[in-house]
């Protein structure tokens, strides 16, 4: 039995001269809930579309369920549930008609009971037309359509984008329902940390097309740290510390964001630069993500900042 369900090797994509994805190496093991994190335009959708063979890689390769993404057979596609970004469904169809349409492609796998239960849970009638649904309701229909055939792997492109807190929670609960089934693998992209934190057991962080982290959530929490070095006199202009991501100076404070730096290395550096005090700042996952993916501030946001 295949243990790596989704794999990309040096996956690179250029749109014209614009680099969208830069040598992405990912391995999603069986049964894993994989949170694919990144800011808008970071390359998440491109990576997902490449995995599904909807885009062609400039270099590198991707495979799902052991099948090359460019050569996905109808049988393999049938095993992969895909929630498109923005939940683009046929606007003119009613939910009931869409169910019949989708069901025809999964004659042996379609779980009508699950589909009906999900619609009931979300409070949706089959008579409703897709175009009359809100974004959230469309997301719910999309999830029900993807889950009803009981796919072995689900790939969801920012499924909670544009949904309010309540709908997002419902959507994630729906996802957890699927997770509870043994052996299912889910990769979902998001830029909402709370969502990822709730369900993912492994995350990948992508920024400007480059994979910046691929680890468990706990590892990510452990590795991203922020420390303040407090000085009595002048703050040194340069500082040499392993894993330095950003540094910011605030009067006599030097604020450092670090990746994978050990306590020992922090202490040693603090002594070496003559810091009076070294304070560790607690970061929640969202702060960690922001620190990790924030680009260098090029200019002040407001005039008075200058």
């Amino acid at each position: 039995m295949q243990n790596i369900i989704i794999e990309t090797k040096q996956l690179t994509k250029y749109y014209g001269r614009t680099l969208a994805l830069d040598h992405l190496d990912l391995r999603v093991p069986r049964g894993c809930i994989y949170g694919f994190l990144g800011r808008n335009g970071s390359g998440k959708t491109t990576a997902i579309k490449l995995m599904l063979g909807l885009l062609k890689a400039t270099t590198g390769s991707a495979s799902v369920l052991g099948c090359d993404s460019q050569e996905l057979t109808p049988e393999t596609r049938g095993q992969i549930g895909y929630v498109t970004e923005g939940h683009r469904l046929y606007r003119w169809m009613r939910i009931g008609a869409l169910e019949k349409f989708q069901k025809a492609f999964f004659p042996d796998r379609w779980n009508s009971q699950l589909f009906d239960e999900m619609l009931e849970y979300f409070g949706l009638s089959k008579k409703k037309k897709i175009k009359s649904l809100s974004n959230g309701q469309r997301a719910q229909v999309s999830l029900a359509l993807t889950m009803a055939p009981d796919p072995d792997v689900m790939i969801m492109d920012d499924p909670t984008l544009g949904l309010d807190v309540v709908i997002r929670r419902q959507f994630l609960e729906g996802m957890i329902h699927l997770i509870q089934k043994k052996g299912k693998t889910i990769l979902f992209s998001s830029h909402i940390l709370g969502d990822v934190e709730r369900v993912a057991d492994r995350i990948a962080v992508i920024e400007q097309g480059v994979l910046r982290a691929d680890c468990t959530l706990d590892e990510f929490r452990r590795k991203i740290r922020k420390v303040h070095f407090i000085f009595e006199g002048d703050v040194p202009e340069t500082i040499d510390i392993p894993g330095l991501l950003h540094k910011r100076q605030n009067h006599s404070h030097l604020e450092l964001t670090l990746v994978g730096t050990t306590d020992e290395q922090i202490e040693q550096t603090a002594q070496a630069v003559g810091a009076k005090e070294c304070k560790r700042v607690e970061l929640n996952l969202e702060d960690q993500f922001i620190e990790f993916t924030a680009r260098e501030k090029s200019k002040p946001l407001f005039q008075w900042e200058a």
Partner: protein, 228 residues
């Protein structure tokens, strides 16, 4: 079953245009033929008089006048069907939802072509056959109809299909404007021009067949090679 589901969806997309086509073509086709029948009767009753366009009203078979109507309606239907089937999925970004399913992608294209062909036959084809059959009843018109006229009507319907394939190719092309995006429409225009220049039905059908093969092959190539 899978293809049937795709075909049903495509037919549902085409249905409003099929109905519109029946109304427009049915209405104007009937009006044209009925109008000429009334005129013919009027002039026959009056007898020949100098200065009257006697030939036009009596000797010329009125069914010929439906030719330009068939051509215009078929071309408009071709453009509309190609837009709803190939351009709107681009606009509403539903291609990914359509493509990612347990079916070979070329069947998606075939389902669209089949639905379009059915739409053309069910609207224009049947109506044209009815109009012709009505007009061909002996005694309705002064001159008997030639079967060639009926076939010419079908050639004009074929023009509509060529326009459909040309527009479809332009709609799914994603690369440079002048090298490929307009290629479909350019090929279709050329094929139609050559078709209408032909003096024989066989010649027109041969040109249409060559054009259709060219466009269909290019549509499949573009569809299977492009990104979604």
């Amino acid at each position: 079953m899978k293809f049937a589901a795709l075909l049903k969806k495509e037919l549902r997309i085409c249905l409003p245009w099929l109905l519109l086509c029946i109304v427009v073509f049915g209405l104007f086709g009937t009006l044209t033929i009925k109008g000429r029948m009334l005129n013919q009767k009027h002039y026959l009753d009056q007898g020949y008089q100098d200065g009257h366009p006697y030939y036009n009203y009596v000797l010329n078979t009125p069914i010929y006048e439906t030719g330009p109507l068939i051509l215009m309606v078929a071309m408009a239907l071709g453009v509309l069907l190609a837009i709803v089937q190939f351009f709107l999925p681009e606009l509403f970004r539903t291609w990914a939802f359509t493509i990612h399913r347990s079916i070979r992608p070329h069947l998606i294209v075939w389902s669209k072509f089949s639905a379009a062909a059915i739409t053309f036959i069910a609207s224009m084809g049947i109506l044209w056959t009815l109009l012709y059959s009505y007009s061909a009843v002996p005694g309705r018109f002064y001159l008997p109809l030639f079967f060639r006229t009926y076939l010419e009507g079908w050639v004009y319907i074929l023009v509509g299909l060529i326009v459909y394939w040309g527009t479809a190719l332009s709609a799914i092309s994603t690369t440079h404007l002048y090298t490929t995006r307009l290629l479909g429409l350019a090929i279709a225009t050329g094929v139609i021009f050559l078709m209408l220049l032909q003096t024989s039905i066989t010649g027109a059908i041969t040109v249409a067949a060559i054009g259709a093969v060219l466009l269909i092959v290019q549509i499949f190539h573009t569809f299977l090679a492009r990104e979604f």
